[in-house]
Amino acid sequence: MYETVLTIALVPILAALSIVLGLFYEGIVRNLKAKMQSRLGPPVVQPFRDVRKLLKKEDVVPKNSVAWLFKAAPALALITTLTILLFLPVGGFDPLLSGSGDLVVVIYLLIFPSLALTLGGFSSSSTYSTVGGQREMVKMMSYELPLAVIAVSVAWLISGVEGSVAAFSFEAMSENVVWSLTGPLGSLGLFILFIVALTVLPGKSASLPFDASKAKTELAEGVKSEYSGRSYALLYITDCVKMLVFATIIVGIFIPYGISGFLGLSSIAATVADFAFYLIKLFLVIFLGSVFARAAFSRLRITQIVKFYWVYSTGLSLLGLGLIVLGGYI
């Protein structure tokens, strides 16, 4: 009973910390992207200033919209995004709701924010938002398949470990690091899956080159075009937290290592070291999956995005799965 109460008490703390971390990483991403394009760029704290400013602006509701749904969608998107983090190994610790949900649950929950965003766009009665909503849904259907292949591949590897239970759980992934479960061929397959996961990251966080659903210059922010003020602030935070969520999933699956054991630390020093190491791993994943992609590529059309995820990402992920299975028999 005491444990349950403590867990529930930690939920808002983790949620608040995730919002801060999400905005902080967004600041880093924007700054680094600007540096890579030979621009000065905004300071790292700019996203916090953006949110503060948005909270002071008017929250306009279009007159022909379905008002209750239009107003509820941004909050719903952020709330559901934050619940995903409760099932993830944030900060190098076991998931807060450990034993109450696994990778399959996380993949399902990842649908909620996109769905909420789409509903908000449709309910706004704007053509731009409606087109943005359609694109968001199409995009969502596109990257689910490679994601599912990654989950199945990793679970297949872990289920082969003697005495291993709950192959889809992040605790099992942390105890049985996937790279140690296979030979060179399987490792090559895992590396391919890691690359595929990195390609899904910008799709999930709706950033370049997969931001066709909001396409500023074409759709005037798409699903968000009618949003302003505090509602827009919530959507802005949602995008930042989504990036954090998916980067944590990648870290949890592919880089679940801690550094405290290596340094011979214990107690509080170990906790601090592991948390700092988690932040570094997060930065690495976000840099490879988001900063580099945002700086190097321009926006893809929605048809190109679908082709990219269904043909190239799915094809590569199946190749990765094939190599892992082959590696298991050789």
Partner: protein
């Protein structure tokens, strides 16, 4: 634990729901810090339409986008929905036969 335990994974919707409510309180508090009202003058609440006059019939209908994009699919599906009970029974028998076939193949 109240929930689903498959042996390969687990899922407890009650705990998720409780957490969702706790986070909802936090987010609604954050939302309440923002400005609540807005002045309606100056056509602020008109839908954005690149500075043009919005069409008279408006953009109403939450499924407008779906119908537009999936037009070919809907037309195809409409043809299948003939309204004749014989057609529906035929579909039912075909699907049932496929399921039985799949079960038989699995049991071999």
């Amino acid at each position: 634990m109240i929930g689903l335990e498959t042996g390969y994974g687990n899922w407890s919707p009650i705990i998720w729901l409780v957490s969702l409510i706790v986070i909802a309180v936090l987010i609604l508090f954050l939302r309440s810090l923002g400005k609540k009202d807005y002045k309606k003058e100056g056509g602020k609440d008109e839908e954005f339409f690149s500075g043009n006059e919005p069409p008279e019939e408006g953009f109403r209908g939450d499924y407008w986008g779906f119908f537009e994009v999936f037009e070919r699919y809907y037309k195809y599906m409409e043809k299948m929905h003939s309204g004749l009970i014989n057609d529906y029974m035929l579909w039912f028998l075909v699907v049932l036969a496929l399921i039985v076939f799949a079960l038989l193949v699995r049991s071999i």
